[in-house]
Amino acid sequence: MKIMVAIKQVPEQEAHIHIDAESKWIDEANIQYALNESDAYALEEALRLKEMHGGEVIVLSAGPERIATTIREALAKGADRAIHIECDDLGSRDALGVARLLAASIKPETPDLILTGLQSDDLGLGQTGVILAELLDLPHVSLTLHVEKTDTGLNVKRELEGGWFQQIELPTPAVLTIQSGGNKLRYATLMGIKRAKTKEVRRVTAADLGIDSPPVAVLERVALPQKQRSTQMLSGTPKEAATALIDKLKFEVRVL
C-alpha cells in the first residue's frame, strides 16, 4: 500500500502567543512549533498500515524552511520519504489554495491512500482532507478512528456526534481524515532519528507545481476573543483562593 500523509507544523499547544503588530496573525518570533496533533495520528495510522500490509509512507507538507524539522520528525518515526512544498505565504492562501498545492504533489505519485489529520490546531478549518478528495476525485471519510484493509478497499470506523460511531466501506484509492485518539502515538527511536538524516526530502515550490490560486476567503484581522461571561478571578494562596471559592459557591451560586 502506498500511503501519503499530509502533515502541518503548528505552534506548540503550550506556546505563549501574541498578536502581531498589524493584527493580521500571531507574532512568530520565539514560538516553538510542533507536528499538528491529529496529523500525528494520521502518520501513526499510515505507519501501522505499512507494518501490516507493506508498502511505502510518504509525508507531504507545505510551509517555510522551519517545517523541515517537523518533516524530519515524521521521517524519524518511520516515514520512508518526504515532499516539502516550499512556500512562505501559507497564511495568505485559503484552504482551497493549500489543498491545490497538496493535490498537485499527490497526483503524480498515484497513492492508494491519502491521510490527513482532522483539523489543524492553529486555523482549525478542518477542510484540507475533504477538499483534497474533491480535487483528486476520490471517495473520502472524515473523522476516521480506525482503518482496516479489506479485499475490495477499506473498512473504517467514523466518529459521529455524542458518542456514536459508524463503520463505512469504501474503495481505494481514497482520502481519510484522521481523528485524534484512535491509536497510541509512537516516539522516534534513536535509530529512527539517525536513519531520517539520509532519507529523501524532495523540495518543490508552488511555481514548480504550476499552482496560482488567489484566495476566495481572507483572514482580515486577528483579535483576542470577546469574553462571554464576566469572570471573577479569585487570588491569594491556594488555600485563600479555595476558601473564597467555597464562599461564592455557598452564597452566590448556592450549590453547596
Binding site: 499547544q13 484552504a95 482549525g124 477542510q127 459521529l160 485524534s180 469572570t231 453547596l256
Partner: protein, 323 residues
C-alpha cells in the same frame, strides 16, 4: 434566484436544534444584506421537516428529495446540493457546523471554486464572519472575496434557536439526478460506542479534568474533589483518548453536552470542541495555571494556579464546609 440559502439538517425526521441556530444566523445575515432567505431540507422524504421549516420567517422552503439520500453520504449530498446551487446560484449558503456538514460542505464549496468559512461564531456588517483560531485563544475576522457563493457554517450555541422569527413560507420540490454508482462509500448503521453507565447530561454538579492533570496517577486528585462535592467526574477529550478515564465521561463535541448547575474545569484549556459541550452550564469555575487559557472566557469564577495545590485545598475546604 439569488439570495441566502440555509441548509437544515435533520435527525430521525426532525430538524435539529443546531439547524434552527443556523437559521437564526441566516436571518441575521438576511436583515443585514436585505437579501431573500430560503431554507433547504434534504433527504429521502422531507415532508415533515419542510412543514416545520415553513412556519419560520423564510421566503420559501425547498425539498431536495431523492431515495439515494436515505442514508447520509458525502457523495449523495454533494451531488444533490451542487445541482441545486448550479440552478439557484445563491450569494450565501449557511450550514449548521455539524460533523455531517464538516464531511461534505468543504467538497461542495471546492466544486464551485469556493471555500467554506467554517465554524463561525458571529456575523457583523460587511458582512464579515468571526471564527476562533488557535484553539479558541484568538478570534479571526474573515471576508469572502470574488463574486461566487459565500459558504459559512455556524458553531453550535453561537446563535439562539429561540430567536428564529416565525412566518409562513411556501414549499417547493427539487429533484436532483443521482446515480447509484456516484455514491462511492457504503455507510453502516450508527452504533453507540461505550457502555453508558453514567448520566452526565442530567448531572447537577460536574468536576471535569483536562490535560493539566498530566498523568493517569493524578486522576484521584480530581476524583477526591468530585466525591467531596457529590459531583460526577468528567473529562476533556485528551484524557479519554489516553484511556485515563472512560470515553463515556467525555464532554465536548465528540462526547456529551452538559448543562449542570456547577461545572468545575480543572486544567482544561478550553478548546472549542470542549467548550461547545459545556458552555451552557449555569456556573463555570476554571482552575488553570495559564491566565490566557480560553476557558477563562466562559468562566464565572477563575483561579490561576497549580491545580495540584488548589484542588486539594478546595477538597479540604468543602469537607470542612459540609461538616
Amino acid at each position: 434566484m439569488s439570495g441566502i440559502v440555509v441548509v437544515l439538517e435533520s435527525h430521525n425526521g426532525q430538524v435539529s436544534r443546531i439547524s434552527w441556530e443556523a437559521l437564526a444566523a441566516a436571518q441575521k445575515l438576511a436583515s443585514q444584506t436585505g437579501l431573500p432567505l430560503g431554507a433547504v431540507v434534504i433527504g429521502p422524504d422531507t415532508e415533515t421537516q419542510a412543514t416545520e421549516a415553513s412556519t419560520k420567517a423564510v421566503s420559501d422552503v425547498i425539498r431536495i428529495d431523492h431515495a439515494l439520500l436515505d442514508q447520509y453520504t458525502p457523495d449523495g449530498f454533494t451531488h444533490a446540493l451542487d445541482q441545486f446551487f448550479a440552478k439557484d446560484k445563491p450569494d450565501y449558503v449557511v450550514f449548521p457546523h455539524t460533523y455531517q456538514v464538516r464531511d461534505y460542505a468543504p467538497a461542495l464549496a471546492a466544486r464551485l471554486g469556493r471555500v467554506l468559512i467554517s465554524d463561525i461564531v458571529a456575523i457583523d456588517e460587511g458582512p464579515v464572519f468571526t471564527r476562533q483560531l488557535m484553539q479558541g485563544r484568538l478570534a479571526g475576522t474573515y471576508r469572502s472575496l470574488g463574486s461566487g457563493t459565500c459558504f459559512i457554517s455556524v458553531q453550535a450555541g453561537a446563535f439562539r434557536a429561540d430567536a428564529v422569527e416565525s412566518g409562513s413560507a411556501q414549499i417547493s420540490k427539487y429533484s436532483p439526478t443521482i446515480e447509484p454508482h456516484q455514491i462511492r462509500t457504503r455507510p453502516g448503521e450508527p452504533f453507540l460506542g461505550a457502555a453508558q453507565t453514567v448520566d452526565l447530561a442530567s448531572a447537577q454538579l460536574i468536576v471535569s479534568v483536562g490535560r493539566g492533570i498530566k498523568d493517569a496517577d493524578k486522576i484521584p486528585v480530581a476524583q477526591a474533589l468530585a466525591t467531596a462535592l457529590g459531583a460526577e467526574l468528567a473529562a476533556s477529550r485528551p484524557i479519554c483518548d489516553n484511556g485515563w478515564l472512560p470515553m463515556e465521561r467525555q464532554v465536548g463535541s465528540s462526547g456529551h453536552t452538559v448543562s449542570p448547575k456547577l461545572y468545575l474545569a480543572l486544567g482544561i484549556s478550553g478548546a472549542i470542541q470542549h467548550l461547545v459541550g459545556m458552555k451552557g452550564s449555569q456556573c463555570i469555575v476554571a482552575i488553570n495555571k495559564d491566565p490566557d487559557a480560553p476557558i477563562f472566557e466562559v468562566a464565572d469564577y477563575g483561579i490561576v494556579g497549580d491545580l495540584f495545590e488548589v484542588v486539594p485545598a478546595l477538597t479540604e475546604a468543602i469537607k470542612a464546609a459540609k461538616q
